[in-house]
């Protein structure tokens, strides 16, 4: 990434943090009072963003698996960057979902009074497992460079790198082999953990038999594919920005196109089965997606800008890196609409006849539109993630460690 782009993006992130600070102030001072979700639509924009970040994690996860488990040398340069991206997106996910909790300081309850029958508990277990795997993984990938940078007295902050390397000044061949073994082991562990982690997100919704649109074995699969699609697009876009290598971008473009088509097929299947079932709750929810007041989010944002145009670009210009990156960028920026369309419509249907006529309060309605505070908090979290990513790629050797990774994998 050029210095110009880096500086511009830093400015964008700082502006986002400043603007979003108002939302954070509202959230931290007045709790959930200033937010629009209620008791009938208990999960809103922040949960949608949580799922969005999850998707970004998945793409980076995909690359780490392809690189270190399946040993695809072509992607090797992206390995450390992908591992680092997993951690940044996990951080953003953790942050926004914590802000969504009524009592975020009580998260220790997951440890002292867990309910092993709850899918949400298992999700937290797998999120924690991802942290436990990816933090040392990144460390072992960067260790050699950290030692090198720590030894370089001319480098700004070399003492910090020395500290991060635990004071180690030499890196032997044996150390390298040991780190390779460790990263290989962690990558193997991460494969089943990661797949369950992404599937578990879908399962949280799919197991609820009172939610007709969600209650389907297809949903965890759709969530996995959705995660891989948005995340694959992110990594392809990042590859274009950081490693503009045509040999790397083109196959990634093919992968993204394949996942996009599978995802659209699964989505079409969900609509087909849903409409054919003629179950009122499902049909009403699907109608809300396709013909409700946010029809444009589905047809224009998701299907036209986020699917048809990227598919056209990926099919028509598979050898043009810029077009591939543009297609991926469109998929990423429109994917929030997909997440909102999976999350909100099922909750936006009254689950008992007559409930809409009984007790009037804004928290007891199914009409939900995220308000300014919710958007500002989301902007703050995104900006923090962006800042962490930019500074991390500049201050940590995630790009440098990727060079020469072919022999590693």
């Amino acid at each position: 990434m050029s210095d110009k782009w880096f500086k511009n993006l830093i400015i964008v992130a700082v502006i986002g943090l400043v603007v979003g600070a108002w939302g954070m102030f509202q959230r931290l001072t007045y709790g959930h009072m200033g937010m629009n979700y209620g008791s009938f639509v208990p999960w809103g924009l922040w949960v949608a963003f949580d799922l969005f970040f999850l998707g970004l994690t998945a793409g980076a996860f995909l690359i780490t698996i392809l690189t270190y488990v399946f040993r695809i040398k072509l992607l090797a340069n992206l390995g450390p960057l992908a591992v680092f991206t997993v951690l940044v997106t996990l951080m953003a996910e953790f942050l926004i979902i914590s802000l969504d909790l009524g009592h975020p300081l009580r998260t220790y309850r997951f440890l002292i009074s867990p309910n092993i029958g709850s899918m949400l508990f298992w999700l937290v277990v797998f999120i924690t497992a991802m942290w436990i795997i990816y933090v040392p993984w990144l460390y072992f990938l960067l260790r050699e460079q950290l030692i090198t940078w720590g030894n370089d007295a001319t480098r700004t902050g070399h003492k910090v790198y020395r500290f991060l390397a635990f004071g180690k000044t030499d890196y032997t061949l044996e150390d390298r082999q040991q780190d390779h073994r460790r990263t290989r082991l962690l990558s193997f562990i991460s494969l089943p953990i990661g797949i369950i982690f992404f599937g578990a997100h879908g399962a949280i919704f799919a197991i609820l038999n009172n939610r007709p649109l969600w209650n389907s074995a297809l949903l965890p699969l759709i969530f996995i594919m959705a995660a891989l699609l948005s995340g694959g697009a992110l990594i392809t876009f990042l590859a274009y920005v950081y490693q503009p290598d045509e040999k790397l971008i083109h196959p990634l473009g093919h992968v993204v196109l394949l996942i996009l088509l599978i995802f659209l097929f699964l989505e079409a299947l969900q609509f087909f089965v849903g409409y054919q079932s003629k179950v009122t709750g499902i049909v009403t929810s699907l109608n809300l997606i396709a013909f409700g007041s946010y029809w444009w989010a589905f047809w224009i944002v998701h299907l036209v800008i986020g699917s048809a145009i990227p598919a056209y670009l990926l099919i028509r210009y598979p050898e043009n890196s810029k077009m591939v990156a543009t297609a991926c960028f469109l998929i990423i920026v429109t994917f929030l609409a997909v997440r909102l369309n999976y999350l909100i419509p099922d909750m936006a249907v009254y689950k008992l006849e007559g409930l809409q006529n009984t007790f009037f309060h804004q928290r007891l309605r199914t009409e939900y539109v995220p308000n300014l505070n919710e958007w500002l908090v989301s902007i703050w979290v995104i900006s923090l993630g962006l800042l962490a990513f930019l500074l991390g790629t500049r201050w940590l050797p995630v790009i440098q460690a990727g060079k020469g990774e072919e022999e590693h994998v």
């Binding site: 008791s39 009938f40 709850s118 009172n210 909750m347 689950k351 007891l364």
Partner: protein
Amino acid sequence: MALVARDLPQEDPLVRMQRDLKRALQKNPTDIKWGMVIDIAKCIGCHACTIGCVAENKLPPGVVYRVVLEEETGHYPQVRRRFVPRPCLHCQNPPCVKACPVTATWKTEQGTVVIDYNKCIGCRYCLVACPYAARTSDFGEWYTAETAELPGKLYGQKAAANGYEAHPATEYGNKWPDRGHGSPVGNARKCHFCLHRLKIGMLPACTTSCIGRATIFGDRTDPQSLVFEMIGSPRVFRLKEELGTLPSVYYLK
């Protein structure tokens, strides 16, 4: 004119329920299984139970434990309004309990689904999991939020709040911190069959406030109780029975 049985003076169901309750409380607590029967044919849609519950538990804006669903049925000129009071149904197979990741909600030995406000992390997964929308989240709102502040201790926002909503009700028999200083703000909340009243031999507020005596409460395992008798009615049904939640609240058509 000859007298028929229905013209004879009858015992108020409340008196019988009170007697049933007294008998239940003398049992081993683990042998009690609380239950409720709501006779839709008797409900006139006055919402007194909703108001009674709100007053008893000092529920804040947007939090409601017992609503009365209103439906219009039939076609003109044969049109009817139907009222279905809906408390927490205290399912014997409660989806909300399975959903809670930190065991902050559970089913007691007496079949009542309760929440520990000090354990709840406010994730609202139980709200999403409840098929009956019987749980609401306390977002921390105040009735007096828009009240003008005035100097002195008798009038104005602070005085009005201190006179009522600043001090939460003793739900579950516990004293909760002043409103705005912790739970139950930020928590999921729901009907608990007025456990704090039952403990001292009083029927739930919705039951005593029902002017049509449409709400019957008691130990559903006691063959002498009115609630047991009502559950045996051929008119009995439960909401969304197909979900297998086995509610402890029954309805009479």
